[in-house]
Symmetry: C3
Subunit: 429 residues, 3 copies
């Protein structure tokens, strides 16, 4: 799938007002299903216990606005769904300025941006606006002014929805790609993840053979992944070999990895390896800087091997969690790059066996046409990847470890693995 | 106990002429007993075998001086007990200058200082004086001059004394503070250790609950600790979890740790952790620079977990082992600081359990009032210590290890441990 | 053996035209036998299987030259045996310039040097000359010129020879020195290895007692060592504790180590230790830069503990594999230095036990005259090697490890080991 195609998916789902529950999630998943009809949509009911948590009420919203004394809508949810506090309870009240301001949220450091604010677990209502809008509102306000605050929302017993797709492989060892579907109109920190996931689904389906089973989760952050784990933990602990949380993958800045709890899982190793050789300017964040679902997958007792993959890391770019994280902040090129990284990760994983050379001592490569038949000064160098692969294919190292030892990207080692396999010189341990 | 109170203790014991045996040790211990009557005074008899060593004869001294031909005391033990060679045998002889000088010790690099010199295991007599005194003596000497060398000392079968105090805790796991009582009038490299020990005894007694049993040893260096171990090794190896040798802890310079043999014991870990976060300018010495009783506690086969704690490390300050290490070299502020370090060490040890979070996935902190109920950009940061504690409270790390991983001092983690304990979210493994 | 004596041995074998098989190897071994009659000469027959390899036909050569149209020998094997392509098949043909040039090899970057080129496993013939000779040949050539290419060689069923010497020690643990005998007239990258081996044979014989059995192999590179291992692998894996491949050990540049596959064998540790303390400017090459028989000894499944030792590393000096690697490139001083390194390695190995101090706590050194009987400021330092040896002689460290921990060369620790042994204070674990 091209970067443009992924960008277009992001663009289609961008306008929807999503939250952790509600119609917005279902609308989003319905669009994604158009790209792969096998995506299944599941649900967890309100109140369901998930470890220490409970699935909250379902939130739906029809409209929200603030009218001034003249009946002008000075803030309008229909213009930008960030204007309403996420999970806002319904309200229909006339208040003076002071009272109004107790329900207003802005981001003073970015005076033109509407901030994204939510209140999932405590019922309240509120409005988000730019600092400039707030200042204008105050400036224009006369003492006698009344403001009409309206939120037409509902909090009812319902469900939390998520999408899931499993693409089977030769083994039931699983690679999980997890991304979220719970933020309203933000491009990088919401729409980019599902869009890249669709590209990767397409790519995984295109593989001639698959060693791993690939699972894709399109799920609300935190309560979604926690609920999912509470129902599937045993299976996950048994089968999952690596988890990649996809977040903020559509912009054009350098790549980021946020490591697992101890930084040593297969997920850490393979993504670090790919980034190190191909994108050496990448940013390496420890688990102390976690923030998306990797923090739940890695929790004590859960202990799943998860890292997060971003371009600009969530929380580290100015536009994050504001209306400035819009479709201009991401680009087809941004998706192309993230897609390249993740497909390299998949290829490295697919070939990541412990190999063992079948001969004692280096095999005679010359008689198999793998080595020059003339020996002269300096001529060994071009074959060093092949020969270093042989040297460390002692059964104790996987391919990623060999790549680390010999200083050569996995992608350059794989053709040499193939040559040796074709000559019956290498076996998988 | 305040720094001033500890300084005053040091000041009281400063004038006494101590050695590894004799009345000086007993007088010192008697003063210390005034501050805690439970300090017990024990003894080992002369000749007692202690591993490869034997307890030496008891040394007592009444007076020592050199008189010139006119009967003037040009060197007088009563003015400064460093003037006599430690463990000097008795003498009463008239000698010429050349003969006299064979019994004189000076420190040419510090011409105004009387050096501290001893001869424990070979019987000899001698006098220490400043380089300037020696030069004056030579300058004023006439060929016919006779000098009267007098040492009124005795070397007899007797005992080696030491003081010991045990403050019981909930378990019989022990923390040992060891300091020495065997040098004559030197302030930092003798009196500061016992004075700080008295402060720590007072502090340990004040704790509401004590997990550990605390043992304090006030004992002559080397032969004292070796003798003690020869009688108590099995108990020590079974119960002692950390030893802190206190030496040179009253001056005002930066702190020092001298590590254990391999640098990885609990004693190394906790003291390094406290110093690293609170006093980052501290000096870190390997076991190759050992010099006090940590060298015996760490000996092969003994293998006790001991570090030494100093402000200026013994041997590393100019005044060391001379008359310049006097009460002006130490200060109440110096004691205060050392006391702060050691009480932080005790607190870290008391809380140093392997903790395990009781929920699968991060607990829902919000419903317990431990987390803001509004989610907006950047707001997670103030809670990161709590959340990082949860993330690494997986039962495999003790609190010191968690402190190292998350980059936060133990003292800032403890209140978070308490919060989680109060909410029944954390257990001790 | 002096550097001059080793240089003289190299000088005697330099003129011989060696290859991996043939009379040149036998002539070389016969000369070496003059220096130690116990060197045994063995053979493997053509066609013998050795793991994935087979012993090639035996190559012998009588003469080779190119004559121009006037019958002048413009290239003459008798002037320099590098002029013939190694393992050249016989030829006797008249050809024009273009045809001739398809059989000519030069090293354009070194226009005055004849390169060393071989074709062991594919039958072809050819001539090596300097780039200048080739250009002269072309310049002087007229269209009608015919060149007479003559190689009087034979490729027949025969044998591959090697020399072997075993000097028994107290145990059947073995140290193997391996060097090669398969290059024609090159000084550093051929003659220096066997010459140094003769010096070391002489040295090992001179030792009063030998803990290790020492084996010396004088053997063709690659096919020689592979064949040897195919017949002796079980014995080698059981007994060999360290292998040193000697190559390029006669020049005057700094020393080099090429490490084993994982860089942690006894061979790595001892040679690194000696070089680090005594020749800190040495070059440290990883196994990725291997090139001589260490690559076969270290092969997966073989797993012998081998490093290579060079002064200038093979392949890293300009003269390598050309006629410029002649007797001027090496020197008696070069041999002397390499001999010093290797004899220090042998001494370190001979003393490399795990020692354990026999007393609990540090022994009382004073009563044995090992320690001053007067204690004063600063006087401990000169004895720190002795005392640090005691501190780490806990039975878990070998002598090399102690050297690494205490920062003192093995050669300075050995006399202290002796002192403690003499006083019955130390035992071998």
């Amino acid at each position: 799938m091209t970067g443009q195609e992924m960008y277009d998916i992001a663009d289609r789902i961008f306008p929807i007002c999503r939250s952790i529950t509600g119609q917005g999630v279902r609308d989003t998943l319905a669009i994604l299903q158009e790209y792969d009809k096998d995506i299944e949509i599941h649900e967890f009911p309100t109140g369901m216990q998930a470890f220490d948590w409970n699935v909250p009420k379902e939130w739906n919203i029809e409209d929200a606005y603030i009218e001034d004394s003249n009946g002008n809508k000075i803030i309008d949810f229909k213009k930008n769904n960030l204007h309403v506090l996420g999970y806002s309870s319904p309200v229909d009240e006339y208040v003076n300025l002071d009272e109004l301001l107790t329900h207003v949220y802005t981001e003073p450091g970015q005076p033109d941006a509407i901030p994204y604010v939510t209140s999932y677990y405590k019922e309240r209502y509120g409005f988000c606006m730019t600092e400039n809008q707030k200042n204008e509102l105050i400036k224009n306000s006369k003492p006698e002014d009344k403001y009409h605050m309206v939120v037409k929302s509902s909090l009812t017993n319902g469900v939390l929805n998520y999408g899931e797709l499993v693409i089977p492989g030769e083994t039931d060892d699983e690679i999980l790609f997890s991304t979220y579907t719970c933020h309203p109109s933000m491009a990088n920190n919401e729409c980019s993840g599902p869009a890249l996931a669709m590209g990767l689904i397409n790519y995984v389906r295109s593989l001639e053979k698959r060693r791993y089973t690939y699972r894709f989760l399109l799920i609300p952050e935190s309560i979604g992944s926690i609920s999912y784990m509470s129902k599937n933990l045993e299976h996950m602990q048994k089968h999952i070999k690596a988890i990649f949380v996809l977040s903020c993958v559509g912009d054009n800045n350098d790549y980021s990895i946020i490591h697992s709890r101890y930084g040593k899982t297969l997920a850490d190793r393979v993504l670090t390896n790919v980034l190190k050789y191909h994108y050496p300017e990448y940013s390496d964040y420890s688990y102390l800087e976690r923030g998306s679902d990797e923090k739940h997958y890695n929790a004590p007792g859960v202990d799943l091997p998860a890292v997060a993959f971003c371009r600009s890391k969530y929380g580290e770019f100015r536009e994050y969690h504001t209306s400035e994280d819009n479709m201009d902040y991401i680009s087809p090129e941004g998706f192309d790059g993230a897609f390249q990284v993740m497909t390299q990760v998949i290829n490295a994983l697919e070939h990541n066996y412990n190999y063992k050379i079948k001969t004692l001592c280096e095999p005679q490569l010359g008689k198999r046409g793998l080595f020059p038949d003339l020996s002269r000064k300096g001529m060994y160098n071009p074959l060093m990847t092949l020969r270093n692969l042989i040297a460390y294919a002692d059964g104790t190292n996987d391919l990623i470890e060999i790549s680390e030892i010999i200083g050569v990207p996995v992608s350059e080692i794989i053709p040499n693995v193939q040559k040796l396999m074709d000559n019956d010189l290498l076996e998988i341990v």
